[in-house]
Amino acid sequence: MGAVTAATIPTTPPAADVAVHVRGVTKDFGSGGTTTRALRGVDLDVPYGELLMLVGPSGCGKTTLVSIIAGTLDPTEGDVVVLGEDLAAMPNGRKVRFRRDNVGFVFQAYNLLPALTAAENAAVPLIIAGWNRRRSVEAAADVLDQLGMGDRLDRLPSELSGGQQQRVAIARSLVHSPRLLICDEPTSALDAENGRITMDLIREVAVQPGRAVIVVTHDARVYSYADRIASMEDGRIEAVVAATRSAAAGAG
């Protein structure tokens, strides 16, 4: 993928190979005199098959932007077309189903259910989609196996290390084969070693031809896993550059 700066993207309908198409998005929090403008006109395209990293100082709006792209937050203004669907115009109920069917999440805080085993946690998206318990846990076990967690299927999150918990979270984010994967600070709670393992897995398992991956990160150590890096500052995307992916990182 070549580097494309935000400034050069024209306001035209999204091309067919674009998974995420964001134009002129603003987001205000609060009401009345105390509004915070978290996003000040964001333009961004993410093609299929790409891992885009979103970087920038704390408070610049990274989480806000991916929340809007994932359909968990409504923009104040602007166009958001994800996987060909116009999220800005989508009613809430459909947005819920859109997320269920198309989006995988990896959160900084893992957000695993403490009472469920690793396999059960990874199965949650399938259960939400209406699969029965046995089939979805079996499918989740397969994914966990691929991530090297096959021997810890019945462990509770409290019995797993942070890196292992994040691997369960990655399994959960991929178990239903979503076409968009959103990862917010997936490595910031992990040490260097586990951060590297996590990014290897995301790179290796999640980056697929029909799928786009957006990773929000502060962590300069993992920049090398990106295809492109979008730098944010104060609610805007300042630049989008092609990453110089090292051979080691790319190989996983």
């Binding site: 989006v103 259960i127 939400i128």
Partner: protein
């Protein structure tokens, strides 16, 4: 999803036990107090229930409940007998007598005088002796609980004597009788004998017991008796309710029990609701994550309601079970009246349902408004 809700709930052992405790507390208190209330109420009507056979009770216009004796002239019996639709009618004496025991001590007793010819109102179950023995001179039958009360720790023995109104009474039988409010011993004797045992009064007839002729409704016969004699006449069932209603109206009993029941209800709701709310708040990020991953509000709603229902069922079972164990335990001691009809179980169930519904609703608002975006915050 419901099994996930279940695992979330049970997995948080401390909160789970807290919520269940609230429900158990309420269910136990409500079921136990309501059962004691029903027990007390049944004590008030046991004297009516023990008189089997006659469907109609005739009495003074002013009588409000079974222990409210306003004696009639003996001639009222014949007036009742003359009312069309009355198949038969007999006298029934009920009063309090003071008995002087062999040891010289005094005891209050409930004295029942049965029609000499028919012995209508005689006890149904005898442990010793026979009803026919009542026809012997000075004969009385006493209930077993009464016997134990006046002669504690002594074996049952026929032939024991005591005095009432300076006349000798000889125990010829031992009967089973429903417990009464006062728990005085109950002494059965012939009417003609009862009049002699009773404190001297000008009028002695307490009730006229009657039966409607076949094909005539008892209510209709009651109406005719009232019309023709100026007495008050009610069916057995009406008299039961009249007595219960009197006690409910004129005593503080329902209020006292009502306060305790309400206390159990509110305290239980507070404990269960509060803990459930804390449980939900503790899990709010998990709910947010489920929502982000595409669980609908409806799904989340059913999860929370299912959790409420689960603690409701467990709490109800344990609470009512404990109440039943309590009842069984005090029954052995026979100190306290305890009666748990299905209505008590139904009322307790309804109260528990309201409690868990309130508890869930408090939490539901919280989970419905939570933004799925919450999960992105670190």
């Amino acid at each position: 999803m419901l099994w996930i809700a279940w695992k979330m709930l049970v997995g948080n052992r401390v909160k789970y036990l807290g919520i269940v405790f609230g429900v158990v507390f309420a269910a136990l208190l409500i079921a136990q107090q309501a059962s004691i209330f029903c027990g007390l109420m049944s004590l008030t009507i046991n004297q009516i229930r023990d008189v089997e056979g006659p469907g109609i009770w005739g009495m003074d216009k002013g009588v409000q409940y079974v222990d409210d004796i306003k004696p009639l002239a003996d001639t009222e019996l014949f007036r009742v007998k003359g009312v069309p639709g009355v198949e038969w009618a007999v006298r029934f004496y009920k009063g309090i007598a003071r008995a002087r025991l062999e040891e010289g001590t005094y005891e209050q007793m409930i004295l029942l005088g049965l029609d000499d010819a028919t012995l209508v109102g005689a006890p149904r179950q005898l442990f010793m002796g026979s009803i026919a023995d009542l026809r012997k001179p000075d004969a009385v039958i006493i209930d077993d609980a009464g016997y134990r009360r006046i002669w504690p720790d002594e074996p049952f023995r026929i032939g024991r004597t005591f005095e009432m109104n300076d006349r000798r009474a000889v125990v010829v039988g031992l009967a089973k009788a429903g417990r009464t409010f006062t728990s005085f011993p109950i002494v059965y004797t012939r009417y003609s004998q009862a009049v002699l045992f009773a404190p001297p009064e000008r009028r002695v007839l307490s009730f006229v017991l009657a039966e409607a002729a076949p094909g005539v409704a008892p209510e209709e016969v009651c109406r005719r008796i009232e019309e023709r004699t100026g007495l008050q006449a009610v069916t057995r069932t009406q008299f039961l309710w009249k007595t219960i209603i009197y006690y409910m109206r004129k005593t503080g009993i329902p209020i006292n029990f009502g306060i305790t029941v309400l206390l159990g209800f509110f305290v239980g709701t507070a404990i269960a609701g509060q803990t459930f709310y804390l449980f939900t708040v503790e899990n709010i990020r998990q709910y947010g994550a489920l929502k982000a991953m595409g669980a609908s509000n409806w799904t989340i709603l059913t999860m929370v309601l299912a959790q409420g229902l689960q603690v409701g069922l467990v709490g109800y079972g344990v609470g009512v079970g404990l109440a039943a164990v309590f009842g069984w335990w005090v029954r052995g001691a026979s100190r306290l009246a305890f009666f748990m009809p299905w209505e008590v179980l139904a009322i307790t169930g309804a109260a528990v349902f309201v409690i868990v519904l309130v508890a869930s609703l408090v939490s539901i608002r919280k989970v419905l408004v939570v933004e799925p975006a919450i999960v992105f915050r670190g």
